[in-house]
Amino acid sequence: MALDILSLPAPRLLPPGLCSIIEPDILYLHIISDVAIGLAYFSIPVVLLIFARRRRDLAYPWVIPLFAAFIIACGTSHLMHVWTMFRPDYAVEGLVKLVTAAISVATAILLWPLLPRFLALPSAELLAREVAERRAAEARALASEARSAAFVEHLAEALFVIRIESGERWIIETVNPAFERMFGIAAETLRERPTEAAMPPEVLAQVLPHWRRAIATGRPVDYVVEAQAPVGWRVWETVLVPMSGADGQVERLLGSARDITRMRRLQSDVLQSARLATIGTMCAGLAHETSQPLNTATLWLRNARVAGEAGGTEAARTRLRRAHDIIESQLRRAGDLVTRIRALPGEEAEAPEAFDAVRIVDPALRQVAMAYAAEGVEVALRSQAARLPVLGVPPRLEQALLQLLANARDAVLDRRATDPDAPACIIVTLREDAGEAVLEVEDTGPGVPEALREAIFDPFFTTREPGHGSGLGLSLVAAVARGMGGRVEARNQAGGGAIFTLRLALAPASSLTTPVEVLN
């Protein structure tokens, strides 16, 4: 039991420094408790400090040392209390208490304004809930991303992403399988490669102005490009969407491309057909109307010949014979022209038959190879098809091919006239493409001027000097192609030179009579 220290009689006071508690049990209770409290109070800050050291993300970390100081001060004051039970260092104890009081008051004062902020900190439960929500959102995002990836993977349109790096460096970040299919280029040969290394220069030259425009304006652009791809000549339409980063600068270009080769071909076929129908009607009418007077004149010339032989001097008869010869040759010339014009509408005078186009090409090439070789023009055959069954009149296709070869030779010689070191080569290619028999004649000449690419197939159109070439050669080729359910196209290759492509409808392979049957 504790006694009131003030009520104790002075003589009964214990020696100074000794505890004023007389009962030993109570004395020990105080001593043990105070020492325990003091030691515990020294231990707790260590835990706090270790915690603060390890967890660097604490809100208000300066509160920890303050708490630690406060607790240490409290612990010191408890131990000081035990000390003063044995030695009356009350001044020291008072000082310790003063320090404790200062730290306690400061802590208390600082703690109150912090209360709302501490309350605002999310609780562990709240955090757990938030984490769970975030995880769910993340799972949703992943699922959505997987859906997008599957979509991109299976989309029919070719997709590509170009990353723009500093200094006008363009990197192909990714392409989808449709891109690989459309152009016949494996994705791994493109991914993470700079565009100038991965793309043909002529394609890059076509697309770069559009890319730059998309970057400059920050708006989507669409454009059409045509070029030679590993899978053949392709025309594609691209929509390009610039993607900006946080700083508003365009970081990536997202492109989606659609193959419009077939559509373009159909469009140009429709246009060409309409034009050729007009030309065909005109040619047929012209041929018929011209053939009548030519016919009458030719018939009467025979009459005149007979009459001429009947009388006059020998000199007069010779003169007349020569005149008749000249008239006849001129009538024949006009007649030949009429025959050629008549053939232009593409209707064959002979019944079409199924035959192998490959077998037409060889004799035609043999026919010209010698003569061309003598002029230094090389002719090569690059056949990728063993058989190309087509329906038509074999000599007409041969005639068309010979015409294309003659044009190619002229082009090659033209180029060599201005550039003696230019290659002089004609390559004939045979292949099957999308259900069509394709026959290509490629030359190393100067190419076809872009503006004339359609007009060159019109009758009487010629780039030759008057008197050289009738301007009916390519019209004839177009007529033959049309008569065989196909068409002819001209384009220029990247390295110069023209390519004329005959595309003919394939006949069923079973329609071909085998050479054995022919022999029988």
């Binding site: 047929a284 041929a287 018929h288 109307e289 011209t290 053939s291 009548q292 030519l294 016919n295 009458t296 004149a297 030719t298 018939l299 009467w300 025979r302 009459n303 009538l331 006009a334 007649g335 009429v338 025959t339 008549r342 053939a343 209707e347 064959e348 005078a349 002979e350 019944a351």
Partner: protein, 123 residues
């Protein structure tokens, strides 16, 4: 008796010249200025061969061939034309059994005469 050729040609000047050539060859010639006239003439005098233009007023060559072949399936026909019909000579073959030859205008008269000699019994 000389074989009789029915000549249908609307160009009078051409018809005259051809007629002269045929007569010189020893054939008998019946001249008609169009298909309809030829059809009527054929009913009066049955021809051994028809030599016809295709484009003619009233009845064209194709119609004339069909009509005559209906009555005389074996009649040989020689067509002279400024047009090359699709399918060539076969285009007229289906209408009967007789042979058909096709000659573009301007005519190569020598070739026509050779064909006539081949298709007709000797005069």
């Amino acid at each position: 008796m000389a074989p009789c050729i029915l000549l249908a040609e609307d160009e009078a000047l051409a018809a005259m010249a051809i007629e002269e050539e045929l007569l010189a060859e020893g054939y008998e010639v019946v001249l008609a200025a169009d298909g309809q006239a030829a059809l009527e003439a054929a009913r009066v005098r049955k021809p051994d061969l028809l030599l016809t233009d295709l484009r003619m007023p009233r009845l064209d060559g194709a119609g004339l061939i069909r009509a005559l072949r209906a009555e005389m399936p074996d009649l040989p026909v020689v067509v002279m034309t400024g047009y090359a019909p699709p399918g060539g000579a076969q285009a007229f073959g289906g209408a009967g059994e007789g042979p058909v030859a096709l000659f573009p205008k301007p005519l190569d008269m020598d070739a026509v005469l050779v064909a006539l000699r081949r298709m007709l019994p000797p005069a």
